[in-house]
Symmetry: C2
Subunit: 278 residues, 2 copies
């Protein structure tokens, strides 16, 4: 998907909501277990109920790999369902992949071509040749981990660097944002930024004022939507996708799960509308 | 697998060889394509031909995910074949996974429990809670990316850090080795170290003198086996697994591929024997 199409969808829906499909067979309503593929049935119902409030869907691969071959079948069906029925939605394979060039190329083909996701999350530790293969597909995106929302982000992402000539930042995550933003253009690289503190979101936007950010951690992980929307917007457009997974999809464990998810998605969309478009 | 068992196997076979099963359907001998699962048939033949010279096998997940559901079936069959027929061999899922704790736990279950690999490679960027779930399984291993063998290693792994009190290293990869080595004990954490230059291997061993290292990049990626074995050994044991993938499995594209792979594996084992046990 082109950046302009994603932006147009955001304007039209007045939403930057990404729904995380972290589907766990132990948490979905029991009546779905009679289906041949309960995970797909759950995803399908969630997508049908929430699509008018969301601009993106993000299955996290770990939840599908946990079920082996069956999990991959559920993933296949989910992305096919999205692409066939809602071609305007932006799709993200939250896979956090990355390997030497020759090998990353395989991951890129698997997710961006074969499964036909619009984008995939990638890990930066192995550097440029581990990310470049994901940039070889037209109108597809690599979403590079910049600053994550978990406790372990403190271990390395906040390592203080010796400043090199011409660099005006302190932390490793800032160098990752800076360097990786130069590996391609802002129409093919986004960043995962779990910064929910204003200070760090401002630091991020100093380094990459125009890139799209995928922001996890709003909702179950405790981040503030208001701070994110206030400090995270790009210079020339909104440039944000804000993810919520468990807070939407597991809102209600009964047979009315999809309606509850829709209500929750709508609530978030209304908050976004109020904060971004009023 | 316990460390003592892996070490006993290394002593018995006089080998630290790991065979990388980077199986690409376009590079395997054409006569195998008539089989229902050519990738598994290829792997099976390679394993049968080389197992007496190798102590470990390492399928790289990218090569299996590239074929979607069928690829996962081939992976399933390959790890089952290894576990059933050669239970003494050490198995590595080269997956380079890592996510927030809740999600990494899913990957850990998938690879260490369900598929029953002995170990999995993991990426360090997201820090402690992204790695800890892989340490929750008895006699299983997390193999953390330390210093990789690719060009992109220069981007971040060699970032110079501001020294903190008590730290006596310069580079990010040294901090990764040091910090991650403290997240568990040396019976459950190894490191990927693609250092083929003596200088860097010596730096690595200063930080983690006793951990096992998984060394890629010998062979097709151009590393020197002699340097690795000279400078990479642990203080109290050999502590090395040296991987070769393409150099062994694609040695000969004809129907005699397995015999050629065996010869190549034996050649490497003999070099290892000469350098380590004479």
């Amino acid at each position: 998907m082109k950046r302009a199409e994603l932006e147009a969808q955001i304007e039209r829906k007045q939403s930057v909501l990404c729904v995380g499909l972290d589907t766990d067979i132990e948490r979905i309503p029991k009546h779905l277990l009679q289906h041949e593929d309960p995970i797909f049935e759950f995803n399908k119902a969630i997508i049908d109920a929430t699509h008018q409030f969301a601009v993106a869907y993000k299955p996290n691969l770990a939840f599908y790999e946990a079920y082996g071959v069956e999990g991959w079948q559920s993933l296949n069906k989910t992305i096919s369902y999205l692409n066939e029925n809602y071609p305007g939605l932006f799709t993200i394979a939250d896979a956090k992949r990355g390997d030497i060039g020759n090998t990353s190329k395989r991951y890129a083909e698997a997710f961006l071509h074969k499964l036909n996701f619009d984008s995939i999350t990638v890990a930066p530790y192995m550097g440029i040749d581990s990310v470049q293969p994901f940039l070889a597909f037209k109108n597809k995106w690599a979403i590079v981990l910049g600053l994550t929302s978990n406790e372990g982000a403190l271990n390395f992402q906040f390592s203080k660097l010796n400043r090199q000539a011409g660099e005006n930042f302190n932390y490793l995550f800032e160098k990752v944002l800076k360097d990786a933003s130069e590996w391609g253009h802002a129409e093919q690289i986004m960043f995962v930024v779990g910064a929910t503190k204003a200070e760090y979101m401002q630091r991020v936007r100093k380094v990459i004022p125009n890139h799209f950010l995928l922001v996890p951690g709003v909702g179950a992980q405790g981040g503030s939507l208001q701070e994110v929307l206030k400090y995270g917007q790009a210079k020339e457009s909104i440039g944000l996708l804000v993810n919520s997974s468990r807070g939407i999809i597991y809102k209600d464990p009964s047979e009315a799960f999809a309606e509850a998810a829709a209500q929750e998605a709508q609530k978030l969309q209304q908050e976004m509308k109020g904060l971004l478009f009023s």
